[in-house]
């Protein structure tokens, strides 16, 4: 089937989208060398700084969260592909304002390779950098095998929490410890009802047929029921909320952050209907939602479906989540 997307040349996708992102947000961000998106305020900060990396095609993630209070530099690869390590090393050097750099990497094969190579090179150069990996997809491995879990939308609140901790003037060790504590207490489950097309090649990324949905990738079946017939919003919400609660081990009386992240083609109407049911379920269980977000943070082109994200919150994490930030796609 012919791809119906507003693009020019497939090779220019990343370049053009980054130009557009900067054009629309000149007060906040600018482009650097090698596909970097840089916080305009970076030159004048005296604190720990935050660097991340990832492929394009997931807008507004990841570069839409560069700005004060979140990410200082994002290093962008091609569509769905990690950037190379040299660009990340250069970004870390550029970001380091004498207090060290927190380097946040999502767990995907290519990103992890680049992350390892970058850290190896940083060590050689004696740079002060700590890496934190976000890996919270409950569907593709049990919690004991966190290294096998993919990094999904959880990177975004992790940027927010880490960025706020850095803005408070905390040391690199403290910022890293807080980011890690948040990352260790989060979980995401993704559901898809229709796949996306790769914007460069036009290839279909998944085929879910007319009547099915897929909770998680169903790789080992831990996360949900895997591929199954389409269900109602309430039934889907129940399956997913319960899987997340079980995974993190959240008990009655605890406080959570809940995010419904649209994957690209699921309407806000549907996301809100899902959120409504999640809140009802959590209320019934005596679990309080103290932080939330409903909308698109990390998409997969026009994939229909959403990611449900939950994290255990404490007073410090909540304060950091609510702290001010100014980025193209999240302002507090």
């Amino acid at each position: 089937m012919k791809m119906k997307k507003f693009i020019n040349a497939p090779d220019a996708l990343t370049d053009e989208l980054l130009d557009g992102l900067v054009a629309a947000n000149r007060g906040l961000i600018h482009r650097g060398e090698e596909n970097m998106i840089i916080n305009n305020a970076l030159d004048n900060v005296d604190r720990v700084t935050i660097v991340t990396q990832g492929g394009s095609g997931h807008e507004p993630a990841i570069s839409g969260f560069v700005g004060e209070g979140m990410v200082d530099i994002s290093v962008v690869g091609d569509v769905f592909a990690a950037p190379g390590p040299q660009a990340c090393v250069d970004a870390i050097k550029l970001a380091d304002k004498g207090k060290g750099v927190l380097y946040i990497v999502l767990n995907h094969a290519g990103d992890m390779l680049t992350g390892n190579l970058t850290m190896k090179q940083c060590k050689k150069l004696g740079l002060n950098v700590v890496k934190v990996v976000t890996q919270e997809d409950v569907s593709n491995a049990p919690r004991e095998n966190a290294e096998d879990r993919r990094g999904l939308v959880g990177c975004i609140p992790t940027y927010k929490i880490a960025g706020a901790a850095a803005a408070e003037g905390k040391s690199l060790e403290e910022v890293a410890a807080i980011a890690q504590r948040f990352a260790d207490n989060m979980a995401t489950l993704a559901v898809a009802v229709r796949g996306a097309t790769h914007p460069s090649t036009g290839a279909a990324l998944a085929d879910l047929g007319e009547d099915d949905m897929e909770i998680g990738m169903g790789q080992h079946g831990e996360g949900g029921g895997g591929r199954q017939p389409m269900r109602s919003a309430d039934e889907t919400a129940e399956i997913m909320v319960n899987a997340l609660l079980k995974d993190i081990g959240i008990q009655s009386g605890e406080k959570v952050m809940l995010i419904i992240n649209g994957s690209g083609a699921t309407t806000l109407m549907e996301q809100l209907i899902i959120y409504r049911r999640c809140e009802q379920i959590l209320n019934e269980k005596g679990i309080e939602i103290v932080a939330n977000y409903v909308g698109e943070l990390l998409t997969v082109q026009e994939q229909a479906g959403f990611q449900m994200f939950m994290a255990r919150m404490d007073d410090e994490l909540l304060r950091l989540w609510n702290a001010p930030c100014r980025t193209p796609y999240l302002t507090k």
Partner: protein
Amino acid sequence: MTIDRAAVTAMLTSAARLLADDSDHLSQIDSRFGDGDHGITISKISKLILERLPQWGDESIHDFLDALGMAVMEVKGGSAGPLYGTMIGGLGAQLGEEETELDSAAVKRMFSGCLAEMEDITDAKVGDKTMMDALIPAVEAAQAAEGSPKDILDVAAAAAEAGAKASEQFVSKYGRARSYKEQTIGTPDAGAVSTALFFRGLAQGL
């Protein structure tokens, strides 16, 4: 017989050409369970190697391979750039900074350096359906081989080819192909196939 700078140039030229010639085939293999772009990335790597070789200035073999590896790591298009960059840099990693004539023992160090650098960045083992399916047997065969540098390169290339062939029977454990589980049996790993071509190319260039 030893390997000097001219021989290293010939080896890399031959490897780059062989990879470029087979790039369509590599994409075809990769399109079954991967992103279908391995051949495209390999072509870019090949092109970069062929561009860099004539610019080889006063650097030693060690330093040239190190710089070439760093450059290849930046080739865009998924993991192949960082992996090939690491492998190429690794070829020089255990050579002396000023070593100019590589004997059989030095060639064995090229292979062990290659593996050591790769093991630093990936936990993949033989059987995980990755490049390591070709690389690990090649390095092991090289260590056990006797004879001239050319003999060692030939033995390593043959072992890499056997490893790539064996990857057909493995279940994918890394990357996008991983979610296809048992369906991946019967298709070789595109990275293992290209790695075998790379080693065959090195051997043929000598």
